[in-house]
Symmetry: C2
Subunit: 334 residues, 2 copies
């Protein structure tokens, strides 16, 4: 493995000049650059990432913490982050915690060693030890989707409350009066916001909202499945259900199928987060679509700008949109 000294020797210049030439700095003669480049090419020279990181005090790696890279929403965020990062010659380290707060904190502390120049995170942990660790991050931090209590950093999100309120209002307009929600953990601000929008729609419709129609704390397919089964026990059954996120929806759909109920005849379904197969499900599932890819790009952008020295960056709020499909219909009049 050729080093910078070898190149310098072969090109007949100093190591400092090699660095400058290869970075195409203006202070180097075209002739010198040519010599250096030729030498580097001949020796297959590539500057060492470790040495550069050590010397500059910063790596060219951006971290992305997600609860589950297997969830298409986060995969799209990852792709967006990566694309934007690549434009600035940064690469991405992705850490997926399987919704496991323990694992998440462990991962977080293992990155306090300067491996990452910056971190974009969607976290599930909420205990204090965790937020401390998150706050102790070296380098800039950006939050994606939700902000854990007490963490101060720019957040990329959608307007959960507003879009939810609008969507649920549409259900009321269709004639539904008993709309349930499978919500996430109470300490997720996204869950709070979506729930808040949900309540606002109820209020606007002048309808009382019985507690039993809100199921808190559900996450993932398993959570959606369980919560939907509980809802189906209710008497009278809700005529429509709003699911906190995509995987929760999948679980809920499986429960409905097992109960041999028909959508939307027996029950209407609205998902938060779209999936590429939702149009093909029986029946096609209506969803509130978040611009996941763009959220990832925005997060990377925020990180890069901080790395460039910008301060005081604010939150980025992107629009979510309602996609109407056949899983929503007026309640059957029995």
């Amino acid at each position: 493995m050729a080093g910078i000294r070898d190149v310098a020797k072969l090109a007949g210049v100093s190591t400092a000049t090699v660095t400058r030439a290869l970075r195409d700095e203006a202070s180097v003669t075209a002739a010198t650059k040519a010599k250096v480049r030729a030498a580097a090419l001949r020796l297959d020279y590539v500057p060492s990432a470790a040495a550069r990181a050590l010397s500059r005090g910063r790596s060219n790696l951006l971290g992305l913490f997600v609860p589950d890279i297997t969830n298409p929403f986060y995969a799209q965020v990852a792709q967006g982050l990566e694309d934007r990062a690549a434009e600035a010659r940064y690469h991405c380290v992705i850490a997926s915690s399987h919704l496991n707060p323990e694992r998440e904190r462990h991962l977080l502390t293992s990155f306090q060693d300067g491996t990452l120049a910056g971190l974009a995170a969607t976290t599930v942990g909420t205990d204090e030890g965790f937020t401390t660790a998150l706050g102790a991050t070296r380098g800039p931090l950006v939050l994606v989707d939700r902000r854990p209590r007490g963490i101060k950093a720019p957040l990329v999100r959608t307007d959960n409350r507003k879009v939810t309120r609008g969507a649920i209002s549409q259900l009321f307009e269709m004639g539904h009066t008993r709309i349930a929600m499978i919500s996430g953990p109470r300490d997720f601000d996204t869950a709070c916001q979506r729930l808040s929008g949900f309540r606002l729609a109820y209020k606007a419709a002048g309808t009382a909202l019985p507690d039993e129609l809100i199921r808190h704390g559900h996450l993932g397919e398993a959570g959606g499945y369980k919560a939907m089964n509980e809802l189906l026990e209710l008497d009278p059954r809700p005529t429509a259900v709003f699911c906190f996120n995509n995987l929760v929806t999948v679980g809920a759909l499986k429960a409905i199928r097992e109960a041999r109920l028909r959508i939307p005849t027996d029950i209407s379904i609205l998902a938060f987060d779209d999936m590429n197969l939702f149009p093909l499900v029986d029946p096609p599932i209506s969803a509130i679509d978040q611009p996941a890819y763009e959220m990832g790009r925005a997060a990377a952008d925020l990180l890069l700008r901080q790395l460039d020295g910008e301060r005081g960056l604010g939150d980025v709020v992107l629009p979510a949109t309602m996609i109407m499909r056949e899983s929503l219909a007026p309640p059957s009049t029995r």
Copy 2:
């Protein structure tokens, strides 16, 4: 930021002892270790990743190259890789090329700088410049899913040919005689193997296979959509279609829906790679399921073993399984 010198000073030992104590080496007194740990804790000291990588000549980062992290198959591979890597205190850098060979090669060369200790790759590029770049990788290399021509490295795969042959034979047993295949690029060995299994089943059934029933070179949703539309033009129409992978299947399904045909009444569908929503599609889609997560783990394992000095590792072949759902039925007799 506290450095090793600060810790050494505070603990009243040398920097060498700090290193040894924090790595819990046997040659250090318990008392000394305690002192050092206390000092490190008090100063919030964390050894620098860059310095360690430089000094040891190797980072603790494993790379994963995939065509598209948004594809759940690769996301699961990534999760498996990451989980196994974490057990050995390695982290993962994920690079997704959007099926763009240009981008892929660019990414590859940008990692020749020792950022990665090892690389696991599923690639789409096939030109020579690319394979050269892949071969020039620093550190161990492992291939996932498919092997590009001329690359010598352990491969983690499933037995594409055998499982495909078995699955297609089942279709013949159901009574199908006109089974089409939407295949991938001819220079993907996975495409070749699945195609080979497909042909074997035809042979075993004693049925001639007209060229028109095989559509080469399709990838992604767009590819599946296009190919399916071509197949639907055929007269007579195939009574069953085997799709090269999950996303191709999604595209194909959308084409069928647009054509207002019914599955399996008008046409049967078999996918390669399962998806979590396939059971909920109208109708539930039969699929050949690859153990993506396990493939990722196996790849990481192969990488780690090479990093430990093991040589001459062979390919890993994992079992794929047929999942029968309602998209497969005997052809309607008209």
